[in-house]
């Protein structure tokens, strides 16, 4: 039966998406681009509806008023072919309500902030359409009751994130950073996709409420699924060895940096692990691995942050350190602590990112109140040399990107080799064109 609960979920997820689609279509069909005010109105309608729906769901979940709303809310099947099904099922619990409210509130705040911040920017229209896509992705992620639906939200957030990083596309660096972030996302998403398929085939369902059934599987199979989910989370939440893209992601506009890398997107990997915590609980090897990576990332980021000269770069490293700690908490089974840590961290970081452009003003203010101290003259000892070397490594973020690039180089070399064979045997036009160009 389609009741208030169903309606609230539909509104929360679809209203920002519809707003983005209508705005995007008006550009494709219309004879001229819509103005700033029209776009803002369209998107505000979507975002505000999502926020109200989210508040309604939270109220109904907490007080059972006006309708009791918790557990699985079934919409039937998104796809059903024989015994294969992608259920259109949503899960309303403490995690979903908290993440949905967090996402809706932060997105609305950032939308309001950006109205002034991006006024007259050539990408104004694009920004708001992407914000709509992101908001829909966040709500879908929050309430998804199956891994398939979760992945849909996950991908929407990833695409929006990539396009925001490359927002100022007239410069080369943001575009390069966007491609790097997207590459990390997609490679890690392969692990997520395979985890979904494996869960469906081995557990018999991708419903989050059925993940407990994995208990009957051999340890190897549960561990495999858990490892794949961890890799997906590492990519999205920029854990080692995939941390390099986060600093580069700061190339995007400040409001989107705040929303994505302070607020929601960077925590999406952790949210995935909170949702699939039963699987992690059954795979102690994977849990220990996850906790170790989380703690290592926290150490790494704490070391690197001391040498960052720019405000957003330093904030990115500080974010990474906290994300690493939350990851360790989840892997150790402290999920309630992790949820509280996640929400408070997201709120603090969004505020800090949005204030980042004021950093110069703040620094001026502090300079008046600080007593300068003079450093002692350096002495050339083994310890000071070690410190120096460590400092250089920290400055270069331990050359993490170079090391990852070294892994990609042979893959590209293979692609070039295959391409040469292809041109020699099957694509002679291209070969002739290459020779002419040479």
């Amino acid at each position: 039966m389609f009741d208030l609960a169903h309606l609230a979920l539909v509104v929360a997820i679809l209203s920002p998406l519809l707003a983005a689609i209508i705005a995007g279509s008006s550009m494709l069909i219309g004879s001229r681009m819509p103005g700033e005010r029209t776009v803002v109105r369209m998107l505000w309608a979507g975002l505000l509806s999502a926020l109200l729906a989210s508040v309604f769901i939270a109220t109904a979940y907490a007080t059972s008023w006006p309708v009791p709303l918790h557990g699985e809310i079934d919409f039937g099947s998104w796809i059903a072919i024989g015994d294969y099904e992608i259920p259109a099922v949503f899960l309303v619990d403490q995690y979903a309500v908290a993440f949905s409210l967090l996402g809706a509130v932060l997105t609305a705040l950032v939308a309001r902030f950006s109205e002034t911040y991006l006024h007259k920017d050539p990408g104004f229209f694009r920004f708001y359409v992407l914000l709509g896509l992101f908001a829909a992705g966040t709500q879908l992620l929050a309430f998804a009751g199956s891994l398939d639906l979760f992945f849909a939200g996950w991908e929407a957030i990833g695409i929006a994130s990539t396009l925001f990083i490359g927002f100022f596309h007239e410069r080369a660096e943001p575009v390069r950073s966007a491609i790097r972030a997207f590459t990390t996302y997609r490679i890690c998403d392969v692990a997520f996709l395979i985890a979904i398929v494996a869960t469906h085939e081995l557990v018999g369902s991708t419903r989050l409420s059925d993940l407990g059934r994995a208990e009957s599987l051999p340890t190897l199979e549960v561990s495999l699924i858990a490892f794949l989910l961890l890799i997906a989370a590492f990519g999205k939440s920029a854990q080692l060895p995939f941390s390099g893209w986060l600093v580069r992601a700061m190339e995007g506009p400040t409001p989107s940096s705040a929303l994505f890398y302070g607020g929601i997107s960077i925590h999406a990997g952790l949210y995935l692990l909170l949702r699939t915590a039963p699987v992690l609980g059954m795979a102690p090897g994977a849990a220990i691995f996850g906790a170790t990576v989380g703690l290592l990332t926290a150490f790494y980021a704490s070391a690197v942050v001391r040498t960052q000269a720019d405000a957003k770069g330093a904030l990115a490293q500080a974010t990474l350190a906290q994300i690493g700690l939350i990851l360790a908490e989840i892997c150790l089974g402290w999920t309630t602590l992790a949820l509280v840590h996640l929400i408070t961290h997201a709120l603090l970081r969004v505020w800090q990112y949005l204030r980042a452009p004021n950093m110069l003003h703040d620094a001026h203010h502090h300079a008046h109140h600080e007593h300068r101290t003079h450093a002692a003259p350096a002495t050339d000892t083994a310890l000071s040399r070690l410190r120096g070397r460590l400092y250089v490594e920290q400055l270069h973020r331990f050359r993490l990107d170079d090391r990852l690039d070294a892994l990609v180089t042979p893959v590209l070399a293979l692609a070039h080799w295959l391409q040469r064979i292809d041109e020699r045997w099957f694509d002679r036009d291209e070969r002739r064109r290459t020779e002419t160009e040479a």
Partner: protein, 367 residues
């Protein structure tokens, strides 16, 4: 509410006609007689009650393609198409006596040739390089071949050959996914994309042998919509600025904002963007392949990821960077109409896939 199977067949027929005539309609305002023939024959094949008739019409349509490829000096393409005609005719003749193993192999070979399996893709490459509009038509009618194959092929042979076809298709997709990363021009990227998706279609059709016919049809439909949309956008861009290289940023987003948006959408739909049919297709094909081979599942997932990276790189190099002006207009009304129609179809079949799937279940049963 699930549409009847006959509604699905009618819908596919209309879709094929529209997609085949699209390049002509956009370029000249009306389709040529040859294009109308190319559109009508496969559309009729979809409605035929008997395999022999369907394959006969497909052979005629492919023959028309081969005839049009002849003057352009496309020996490889013409040979490939003539071979496909012979195979389709052979399948039609054999199907007169009912489904058989030989008819199955002839049909799948025709599909392999026309989708461009690795090693047999020379003809398709040349066609795209020299007569892109014809290749768009040829690629669109692949959907009809897949449909006819799923409908009329011999199930026992399909079951026996499934593993080999899946491995071949998935390997081909992976290799073209890999080569898409190092393309130096937009032509090359589209060629790699078409061949990668061709590999996926072959793998999906192979998996249909083990009871995933509905998935195979959905995969083929969504790939056709996304790839044809992307091809139309590439043709529109090249009509305005000539051949596009991917060596340095082109900065065309401000001159062609709609074209850039549509290009991005079709590119993303082809690699599984959520909300579009591509997302469902990716999900379906991975589940279908898992039961055949874990290797094929990983290969296809990787291929899709690699192509996604290559597509994003191409979008950034075509449209981003320091902006340049152009006297050429953005998408014209006819181009916009086709682009919008395809976007709508990809969204509707992505958000409510059961419309297609339900009708396909009615056709192929619960598999």
């Amino acid at each position: 509410m699930t549409p009847e199977p006959v509604t699905l067949r009618l819908f596919l027929s209309v879709l094929v006609v529209l997609l085949v005539i699209a390049p002509d309609l956009i370029a000249r305002g009306r389709p040529s007689a040859a294009t109308l023939l190319n559109a009508t024959l496969p559309a009729l094949a979809l409605l035929m009650p008997h395999g022999a008739l369907a394959y006969g019409l497909l052979a005629l349509a492919t023959g028309a393609h081969a005839y049009q490829a002849r003057p352009a000096g496309l020996q490889a393409a013409a040979m490939m198409l003539v071979a496909a005609v012979a195979l389709a005719l052979g399948a039609a003749a054999l199907l007169l006596a009912g489904p058989s193993a030989l008819a199955f192999y002839m049909s799948i070979l025709a599909l392999i040739l026309r989708a461009g399996l690795l090693g047999l893709h020379g003809g398709m490459s040349a066609l795209w390089r020299k007569l892109p509009a014809l290749q768009v038509q040829q690629y669109t009618t692949l959907l009809v071949l897949v449909f006819s194959h799923l409908r009329f092929s011999d199930h026992a042979t399909a079951l026996a050959a499934a593993d080999a076809i899946v491995i071949l298709g998935a390997s081909s997709a992976l290799i073209f996914g890999l080569t898409s990363l190092v393309q130096r021009n937009l032509d090359g990227l589209l060629r790699a994309s078409m061949l990668m998706h061709g590999g996926l279609m072959i793998a999906a059709t192979g998996a249909a042998g083990k009871g995933h016919a509905v998935a195979a049809l959905f995969v083929s439909l969504s790939m056709t919509l996304a790839v044809v949309g992307l091809c139309l956008m590439v043709l529109a861009l090249e009509a305005r600025v000539g051949k596009v290289t991917l060596l340095r940023p082109g900065g065309r987003a401000r001159a062609f904002p709609r074209l850039a948006a549509a290009f991005g959408f079709f590119g993303a739909a082809g690699v599984g963007m959520p909300g579009t049919a591509g997302f469902i297709a990716d999900d379906l094909i991975l589940h279908a392949l898992w039961s055949e081979s874990v290797y094929a599942t990983i290969a296809v997932a990787l291929a899709s990821a690699l192509l996604a990276i290559a597509t994003l790189r191409a979008i950034t190099l075509c449209f981003m960077g320091p902006q340049t002006g152009s006297v050429a207009p953005d998408l014209l009304p006819a181009e916009r109409l086709f682009a919008f129609g395809l976007v709508l179809l990809l969204l509707v079949s992505g958000l409510t896939p059961q419309l297609v799937v339900g009708a396909a279940v009615g056709l192929f049963g619960n598999n």
